[in-house]
Symmetry: C2
Subunit: 137 residues, 2 copies
């Protein structure tokens, strides 16, 4: 018996397949908040800078969990709430986001942590190691 994927892929191209999961204006912003801002909760994602709507946020969190990019558990501080974390598959999106950030800083007038991008460009492997260590905390 084959397990049917919940994601409907349009082609075998790995870029196309990545965009089948990530190709909208919101999904990667949630990954960004988990990766760089240390956000973990629905409420934190909601008040992040871009003004995501509650229904879109709920939908994207479900999609990300179903794609194996995030997982959730009860908040130790308040059992009625969930906290989210990136899986290894989700953390592996760091290079995509760092390159998007680098491009956005250079070409769209976005302002951001230039030192982070510099560290990433100088030694990607060391940078990802430090970033992973910060995730684990």
């Amino acid at each position: 018996m084959t397990k049917k994927s919940l994601i409907s892929y349009r082609s075998h191209c790995p870029i196309g397949r990545a965009l089948d999961i990530l190709g909208d204006r919101w999904t990667l912003l949630i990954v960004r908040d988990l990766l760089f801002a240390g956000f973990k909760s629905y409420r934190e994602f909601l008040i992040s800078g871009e003004g995501i709507a509650t229904n879109i946020l709920a939908d994207r969190l479900l999609n990300l969990a179903s794609a194996g990019i995030i997982n959730s558990k009860s908040d130790p501080a308040d059992g009625r709430k969930l906290i989210y974390a990136l899986t290894a598959k989700g953390f592996a999106l760091a290079p995509v986001l760092l390159e998007l950030s680098s491009w956005g800083m250079k070409y769209s007038g976005g302002t951001g942590p230039e030192t982070i991008i510099k560290q990433w460009k100088v030694d990607p492997a060391a940078f990802l190691k430090t970033l992973a260590k910060n995730q684990a905390r």
Copy 2:
């Protein structure tokens, strides 16, 4: 007099701003076709693997041109047709697409040119130089 941008940005975050331009399922596929497949014409983008609809393709080409990511000129072989090319701003998206491809190969079962990704990982600068040379032809 300030020139008003055609793009409405949601925040100052460079990742958010990049996604304001690129955050949909189709835009980066057109950039991919220009960058790696050598496609240049509306007709070539249309028959690319993912089955883009004519109205979406026309809309995304306009958006990409208005964002300064592609430009167009008359096809020397047929003056009634346009051919498209990446600008420097568009070519600078190569690292984003290469990282998306790398992720898509590892995590979504996408099959693609693994040797390209290997070359990219081993020596990004040299790889981009070769890719730029191929664009110019």
